[in-house]
């Protein structure tokens, strides 16, 4: 897989802080990957993400996104049209009073011809399932819908990389599910590389790769199954595991023989079914 993000030895600290927010971080992300970034508040995950579309510039090390050095000011616009960012609060990202105008905002800024704007806006809204709301006012939408409009505004720019910084933190369960489905669809069907920063372990479990940050460093970087097998380590750094993983972990600690790589509901149900069936505790339709 070709790399879309190639960050080497990144160092960054905020003005007035003695500690490093990023402490020599190196990360390579292949084109088309779906990567979750976990870490407690202040672990450096948002700082890292902000390096990928040059909101922050490295104080040490170097960062390439789709072959562009993020410190190259001459290519800043080009970089930002290739790497789009979605933030936590939908209300802070919507600028227009009509949904479709909001989605068109970025395109107008980079001088895309009107007839092409029309096409791209319609496609982007269709992709996030918001086409029928194109003439609504954003304040009439739910949080999940607003967040999908924000995502449409990004994908209309046809970026190769989308960075989402806790896009579901302010949403209810339905809104969270809508946004997560949209993100996964963009990745699977359109091959957009996704970097998803989240505090929700079930969202991380749905990604292909999970990067865990702590104290400005990368602590773990592996597929979700492997990352979530480190239950105690994750809890130590202020994180959690899915409940499906936790119950299996608890039972294993009680000396019960179960697989240690369970992260989804289905896997957990299967493992517990075999366990209960083999101990002759009823059921059997399994």
């Amino acid at each position: 897989m070709d790399a879309i993000i190639s960050a080497k030895d990144l160092v960054f600290s905020y003005p007035g802080d003695t500690e490093l927010a990023l402490d020599h971080v190196s990360l390579t992300v292949g084109k088309g990957d779906l990567v979750a970034v976990l870490g407690h508040n202040g672990s450096g995950k948002s700082t890292l993400a902000k390096h990928f579309n040059a909101i922050l510039l490295p104080q040490g090390g170097v960062c390439y996104v789709d072959g562009i050095n993020t410190a190259d000011e001459d290519r800043l616009l080009e970089l930002r049209s290739r790497a789009g960012m979605v933030f936590q609060n939908p209300d802070n990202q919507i600028v227009a009073t009509i949904v479709e105008e909001d989605v068109a905002f970025g395109l107008e800024n980079i001088g895309v011809p009107p007839e092409e704007i029309r096409i791209r806006v319609d496609e982007a809204l269709t992709d996030v399932g918001m086409y029928e709301y194109r003439l609504h006012a954003p304040h009439q939408l739910s949080g999940g819908q607003k967040q999908r409009v924000a995502i449409a505004g990004i994908i209309a720019m046809m970026p190769k990389l989308i960075i989402l910084d806790e896009p579901t933190a302010m949403l209810d369960p339905r809104g969270r599910a809508e946004v997560l489905e949209t993100v996964i669809k963009l990745n699977r069907e359109f091959g957009v590389t996704v970097l998803l920063i989240t505090h929700f372990m079930d969202e991380a479990a749905a990604c292909r790769r999970v990067v865990v940050m702590d104290d400005g460093r990368i602590l773990l970087d592996a597929p979700p199954k492997e990352v979530f097998s480190h239950v105690s380590l994750l809890k130590q750094v202020g994180l959690d595991v899915p409940q499906a993983t936790e119950i299996i972990h608890e039972l294993r600690r009680s000396g019960i023989n179960l697989p240690d790589d369970i992260i989804t509901d289905e896997e957990c149900v299967e493992a517990l079914s075999s366990l209960l069936a083999s101990s002759g505790k009823g059921g059997g339709r399994a």
């Binding site: 933190a169 369960p173 339905r174 409940q243 600690r253 009680s254 101990s279 505790k281 009823g282």
Partner: protein, 289 residues
């Protein structure tokens, strides 16, 4: 004793216009003193509008809010008294901090209650203690603190009024799992020590299951259910239809039961699941860590 009660509470937006819409529609509910109630409902269900009635921020279009048996609008001029007794912590309360020091920010509420400087100092210290703010943070600017710390300052500002009823609207939204657990732990301790009545609005069914005694479900401006955690979460299908969720572990148990395994339908936490599975597997006596 009933702490707070609503009788047929209704609130209409844009009353008398073609856009008239009920945000709260005939909600009657009675909450006992010392209860810990989880309030759930999707965004736009009316739950925030509902709770804003409980301390008189909104005035009902019709119906009543009774605080310890008295209609809070009996004497509208005394509505401030109600706001001292019913503390409301908004979503993202850290955006409401404004004072120069943490201490002065927490003291803002009690200062408006006409208390003596000594009493104010005591209350500020007590409230800071509850939320785990160390004495050396008290003279800092609240804006120097981390997000989780700021939120603690904001919560302490409400606790310092020693409200008999404390309402928290999504107090842990946006916090990491550790920050979330700490804040819930502090709220649970406050509840245990003061015996005050707590209403917790949350989207996290895992957390509601863990901390609440009763659950109030609001959907489409109406009260759908008010009962114990057991009663409410046993209606998994209906909750999911309303755009809510049940804890992941509850979903897992529902699927196991559907496969014919005889397991308790009342499992909402990982700890309860562990106990239930060990019991069924005949290891119930094992009181291991």
């Amino acid at each position: 004793m009933t702490a707070i009660e609503t009788k047929d509470l209704t609130y209409l937006y844009s009353r008398g216009t073609p856009f008239e819409k009920a945000a709260v529609d005939g909600v009657s509910v009675s909450i006992e003193e010392g209860d810990f109630v989880g309030v759930i409902g999707h965004t736009g269900s009316g739950k925030s509008t509902f709770i804003q009635h409980l301390n008189g921020l909104l005035r009902p279009t019709s119906g009543q809010v009774l605080l310890y048996g008295r209609d809070i609008w009996e004497e509208p001029k005394k509505i401030r008294e109600v706001r001292f007794q019913v503390g409301l912590v908004f979503q993202y309360p850290e955006y409401q901090l404004f004072e120069e020091t943490v201490e002065r920010d927490i003291a803002f509420g009690p200062s408006n209650m006409g208390l003596s400087p000594g009493e104010i100092r005591d209350r500020v210290r007590e409230a800071a203690d509850f939320v785990g703010l160390s004495p050396d943070t008290m003279q800092k600017s609240p804006f120097e603190l981390s997000g989780g710390q700021k939120r603690r300052v904001a919560i302490a500002g409400v606790l310092a009024m020693r409200p008999r009823v404390l309402i928290l609207d999504e107090p842990t939204a946006g916090l990491d799992p550790k920050g979330r657990d700490q804040i819930f732990h502090e709220i649970a301790q406050y509840h245990g020590k003061t015996g005050s009545t707590i209403l917790l609005v949350s989207h996290s069914m895992e957390d509601v299951a863990k901390y609440a005694k009763h659950v109030l479900v609001i959907n489409d401006a109406r009260k759908i259910a008010f009962g114990t955690v057991d009663e409410v979460f046993s209606h998994t299908g209906e909750l999911v239809e309303m755009g809510l969720a049940v804890p992941q572990i509850t979903k897992i148990f529902a699927q196991l039961r559907a496969r014919g395994f005889e397991l308790s339908p009342h499992v909402y936490t990982v700890e309860a699941a562990r106990r239930e599975l060990l019991r069924v597997l005949g290891k119930g006596g094992a009181q291991d860590a």
